[in-house]
């Protein structure tokens, strides 16, 4: 029954946010251990349940039966059996667990074949720095298929946890420290979900990100266009651009070569979502920049800039032009 539920789970949940529907090798290895442990545990549960149900049915008190059963002190033979068998089961489980614990802790930071990403958790968004390429993105992590990626994980404020369920387990991002973890990317292009898994404050639940897996060529094209400086904008969005420069530019870069206090907005119009989770519509962008607190609460660091509605619309219009070539 449990297995069938697991399977229905796989078919129910789409979009690659599912630890038991692994899309890449690290998650597959972990899934293997999960299956092994579930198997052993189901065995244990069945043994206990059979003994249990037999006992409570067979030894019920019949009406009028006032007899006193034999007072059994214990049994050394049985005690040894239920000490030794669990030990053997644990051994079967412990050996591959320890092996995988070590093999998945490999560090590829110095490996030139491996993509190096520094992921930084912020309340409540993710920043990704491609250390070798010198580009920054936020919210969307773009990666090529069939590649190993070495992550350097840290945080600028509180503890977050970096989790792409379909690619592998999570690792905390601790302020003042750097954690290392590698993951492999899937063989097929697609979009996977990423999450913050450590409670990090008011809008912890909304701290999602996307992992965009591209084919080799698409990825290279993406890198090139990220590295190309932004082109000049049309005249009808110049007022929006002006407003953006006056009010937003101090935190949000629109060129990929710069980090910022807030999410880097290069290629913003290509993204699937606003603020990590809202559908990419003009209305949502408008509402978000008008009043971020309404969505991510008082602790969100993005201030609401006092402008009139037309000016917000101009900024939205400008933001919609931030597309990559």
């Amino acid at each position: 029954m449990v297995f069938s539920l697991l399977l229905t789970g796989c078919s129910l949940v789409g979009q690659g946010s599912n630890p038991i529907d692994p899309k890449a090798s690290v998650a597959e290895e972990q899934y293997g251990l999960i299956l092994l442990s579930i198997g052993i545990m189901i065995l244990v549960v069945i043994v206990v349940f059979v003994l249990y149900f037999y006992a409570i049915v067979r030894y019920r008190r019949k009406p009028g039966d006032d007899s006193i059963p034999k007072q059994v002190e214990g049994s050394h033979k049985l005690e040894i059996i239920w000490t030794v068998i669990p030990m053997i089961l644990l051994l079967i489980l412990a050996v591959p667990s320890v092996a995988l614990t070590f093999s998945q802790d490999e560090d590829y930071s110095e490996d030139p074949e491996v993509i190096q990403i520094k992921a930084t958790g912020h309340q409540f968004w993710w920043e990704f720095e491609y250390s070798d390429l010198g580009i920054y993105t936020a919210q969307d992590l773009v990666l090529p298929v069939n590649q190993r990626v070495q992550f350097q994980l840290t945080s600028s404020d509180v503890i977050h946890s970096f989790w792409i369920p379909a690619m592998g387990g999570k690792m905390d991002t601790n302020p003042g420290m750097t954690n290392k973890m590698y993951l492999d990317t899937p063989a097929e292009p697609g979009v996977l979900k990423g999450k913050c898994a450590e409670f990090c404050g008011e809008s912890h639940a909304l701290m999602d990100f996307k992992v965009v897996i591209l084919s080799e060529e698409d990825y290279n094209a993406w890198v090139t266009s990220m590295q190309t400086p932004a082109t000049t904008v049309d005249a009808d969005v110049s007022s929006g651009e002006e407003l953006f420069k006056q009010n937003c530019m101090s935190c949000h870069a629109v060129e990929a070569g710069f980090p910022g206090l807030g999410p880097n907005l290069t290629g913003f119009a290509d993204r699937e979502v606003v603020a990590g989770y809202l559908e990419m519509t003009d209305d949502n962008i408008f509402e978000w920049i008008k009043n971020p607190e309404q969505f991510k609460g008082e602790t969100v660091e993005m201030p609401a800039i006092p402008l009139d509605d037309n000016q917000y619309h101009d900024i939205v219009k400008y933001l919609k032009t931030l597309k990559l070539e």
Partner: protein
Amino acid sequence: MDWLTTVDHKKIGILYFAAGGFFFIVGGIEALLIRLQLMFPMGANGESWFLDGQTYNEIMTMHGTTMIFLAAMPLIFGLMNAVVPLQIGARDVAFPFLNSLGFWTFFFGGVLLNISWFTGTVPDIGWTAYAPLSGEEFSGTGSDYYAIGLQIAGIGTLVGGINFLVTIINMRAPGMTFMRMPLFTWTSFITSGIILFAFPALAVGLIYISFDRLFDANFFVTATGGNAVLWEHIFWIFGHPEVYILILPAFGAISEVLPTFARKRLFGYSSMVFATALIGFLSFMVWAHHMFTVGMGDIANALFGVATMLIAIPTGIKVFNWLFTIWGGNIQFTTAMLYATSFIPTFVMGGVTGVMLAIPPADFQFHDSYFVVAHFHYVIVGGIVLSLLAAVYYWWPKMFGRMLNETLGKWSFWLFFIGFHLTFFIQHFLGLWGMPRRVFTYLPNQGWDTANFVSTIGAFFMAAGVIVILINVIISIKGPKAPADPWDGRTLEWSIPSPSPEYNFKQLPLVRGLDAFWLEKMDGKKEMTPAEPLGPIHMPSPSILPFFMSLGLFIAGFGFMYRGYEFESMFINNLFGNNIIAISGLAITFVCMFLRSVYDDHGYHIEVEELQKEG
């Protein structure tokens, strides 16, 4: 007034029950609000249908904190107070005055924590209060309520633990050797030992947090050289043993209820004692399994993973011993027995997921997902609460002298039991499907909507079960009077009247073996053989000092919390800012301690004539 000054362990037990029961209801209402919020995903424009993130986080934090510290702990202590002295044939605990102090500090700590609901700054940092989120920079006065409230409540627990250690070591009746002690006493003993070592760690950690927040210390502030992960280690060095502090007495209660209603002695008594001690020992060796994803590296993860798996062995020994206790028995399914037997498979289900979580690479996926939520609710509700309810139905007649209604009892059982599995079984799958815990809402169409809906329905069944229990308790006030030995019990507490007189045993009993009272009954006797002639009984005097000592700490707590706060009234600002409130609170406590030290109270005696009059 009597209740404020009592030092009688039975009355203190009832106080613990009342306070713990009250906080259990509060925590339960918080749980219902949590489930209501998660019943539906967020709307298309990101709007939440019921609670906003801040409110949800407050409720979620207070649910965990309340259930662990203010409901489970006091209910366990209530049970220990009500049962342990009777089971070892003692007239009271070793330190009756301390016992009362322990209750009142717990009570005022709990009240302090919950006053935050009325001042509007509720803890919103999770019950684990991870730094730096719990630090000054990222959270408000709510975190002070957490740190100081738990600090005061924690004193009570530590004091209580020490009291029970001394009681069990020193106050056993003649003939009650360690290996003749009932298992509930054994588990209480080991739990008290764990408290002795675990709670100081919490106290130190909470002092660090308070100092960081109130006096700008730098224990956990990364920017100034502190270490955020340090708090996690301190918290879990306390927090993991805490789980065993709660579950061991629950194991003990099960080990009393099963033999009584199966009419069979506990199978493998000595291996049960050994397993309990082993679990107590191992509980201090595995804290870092809560921290596999912190980045401790492969060696630490592997070691803590394997150490954690080892706990399955003594736990398995216990489970099979329980199974073979009812095996071949003559089982009577009272409400207490229903709860106790249903505990076995439920707890096993919580136990096996515990082993799964001990595998570090698998835990990378499970950690902080609903799989963990399902796991620890199976252990804490399916394990601790089910066995506490078994214990409540079992010992109620002894505590209150009235019987609970069995029909209502069975209704409450089935509602609660079905509701429990409905709520939490499906959460295993939510975790495997990738739902993180501690989220106030979630996007629709991730395959989680139905499962969350089902889970919420289950929560309402559990609530209905609890309401039936409450009705049962209220009805029992006028219920039938309880005989001394309603269940054909095996241990000493059933050899004295229900409720027991204030001195418990008119003459201390002579214990001839395990299941002392059962042995006498099997020899055809109706009561225990006395070990001493009838003589005057020394009793401790009641005292109001513990109440005021705790009140002093409570006031001082407020003083410290608000010393840096800007009040509108200058007068109040001065009171808090110049530490006048804090110092007067501490002064009350110290004056009480002084009074206690200089005023010699020798107690009083109940004379032989009085004892004979009572029959």
